[in-house]
């Protein structure tokens, strides 16, 4: 039993080393890591995140008018006690991770918009915005992911992704996602 444990730990360490390199073949292994046991220790490097991501959405009304863009609150200002207690960091991290996956899909694989719409990060963002309160008479919702560059921005904000208009479920019908877009 102890020999098995020793072998398992040795193998886990070797795989942990391999995990630090961006081998394409290893991504297939990482994709299967549902338990999250393959560590990635390259924090904020070699490409440090130097921007904030914002999830925004707007509604299309039955008469075709569009509402104002509004932001989904995920980036609350940190409190003085955040060095001890910071539950808000979890929501922000999900969005950061989702955007990074989407950005990779767009830039490296050149994914078509239709393929993007089926990706989990896209569906995650769509799911979140779809459950927000709607404008009176809204029939469709569109979301976007916007990138801003700091407290004293050196660049204009960038729009990373704009979704199509997704049909909202009829009020009272339920929360099933409607992936049809116009």
């Amino acid at each position: 039993m102890n020999a098995i444990i020793a072998v398992v730990l040795a193998a886990w360490f070797v795989v942990s080393i391999l995990s630090q390199f961006s081998f394409k073949w290893f991504e297939r292994v990482r994709h299967r890591d549902v338990f999250g046991l393959l560590p990635l220790w390259t924090f904020f490097a070699p490409n440090p995140g130097q921007s904030d991501y914002h999830l925004v959405c707007r509604d299309k009304l039955a008469d075709g008018r569009l509402s104002q863009w509004r932001e989904v609150e995920l980036n609350e200002p940190r409190k003085w006690y955040s060095l001890l207690w910071n539950p808000e960091k979890r929501g922000k991290k999900v969005l950061v991770d989702a955007v990074q996956v989407l950005a990779e899909l767009v830039t490296t694989s050149g994914a078509q918009k239709s393929a993007l719409m089926l990706s989990t990060p896209y569906l995650l963002a769509l799911n979140v915005v779809s459950h927000l309160e709607r404008e009176q008479g809204a029939t469709h919702r569109q979301f976007a992911i916007v990138e801003t560059f700091g407290f004293t921005p050196s660049s204009e904000m960038e729009v990373l992704l704009v979704s199509g208009f997704h049909a909202l479920p009829r009020e009272g019908v339920g929360n099933a996602l409607h992936a049809s877009s116009l």
Binding site: N2, A6, W41
Partner: protein, 268 residues
């Protein structure tokens, strides 16, 4: 020198503080695990093939529900409490750790995105404790476990340091300002202070690059040099908690330090 079990006790205690805080933080944001939240079970389930039977589908719905997450978090605290109260290495301890590890793995499956390095290190440490401390374990496997924890910590720091070393943004120091200039991981006052101080940016960046990259030396250097690395590490994580809000990293990584100290002493 402390015995190996005493070292594991320290490792577990520090890790437990971090895990408790982290668990309570998840409890505070448990509504995000509802169907409408960023941790929606509806979306997380898409990773897995849809079950053919409606009964199984219904079971999956329940397992991925917000209520199931609440149950997981409560069970986690109970298992952790039991592990801390049970005599280290006893059958009861092993049983508690088994429940805790299963809980962590289940929770990792439940979450699709949003994990960070502290979650990973905490899981690695606790799984190692579970594997290497129990009625079944010998002195040999306990030593292997401490080596594994120490080596994972060193791999973590060295990987982070080398990844920064190959980055032009980090070598120039711009990364420090860039990160602190975000609402996600920075502070307005830190950004204002650093903005007109490129020399300081570069200094801060390089001290992180150098110490992280050389961190594995703490296993072989004589005292007090080894301790200097650990002292730097603790201060570094404290700074990350204060400025960047990465509070969980402090506990997850300092939990490995007793193992590093022990391994370093055996190497010495």
């Amino acid at each position: 020198m402390h015995s190996m079990l005493q070292v594991y006790e320290l490792v577990l205690l520090v890790s437990a503080v971090g895990l408790t805080i982290s668990t309570l933080e998840f409890w505070a944001i448990v509504p995000t695990f509802s169907p409408a939240g960023v941790h929606s079970g509806t979306i997380t389930r898409l990773r897995f093939r849809a079950p053919r039977s409606s009964r199984l589908d219904s079971l999956m719905d329940r397992l991925f529900s917000e209520q199931a997450v609440r149950a997981l978090l409560i069970l986690r605290l109970m298992a952790l409490g039991l592990a801390l109260l049970a005599p280290l290495g006893s059958a009861l301890f092993s049983a508690a750790m088994t429940l805790l590890v299963l809980n962590i793995l289940a929770f990792n499956v439940r979450r699709l995105l949003g994990d960070d390095g502290s979650d990973q290190m905490t899981a690695i440490v606790l799984i190692t404790v579970w594997l290497c401390v129990g009625p079944h374990s010998t002195a040999f496997i306990q030593l292997i476990g401490l080596w594994f924890i120490a080596l994972q910590a060193c791999l973590s720091y060295a990987s982070a340091g080398i990844a920064k070393l190959i980055s032009p943004e980090w070598r120039s120091g711009r990364a420090i300002f860039g990160i602190f200039n975000t609402t996600t991981y920075g502070h307005e006052w830190a950004a204002k202070f650093l903005r007109e101080r490129p020399g300081l940016q570069k200094f801060l960046a390089w001290q992180v690059i150098v110490v992280e990259s050389l961190f594995p030396l703490c296993l072989v250097l004589p005292e007090p040099w080894g301790w200097a690395f650990l002292g730097w590490g603790a201060l570094f994580h404290l700074q990350c908690a204060a400025i960047m809000g990465l509070n969980s990293f402090f506990w997850a990584f300092t939990a490995t330090y007793p193992a590093i100290v022990y391994v370093s002493a055996t190497v010495g």
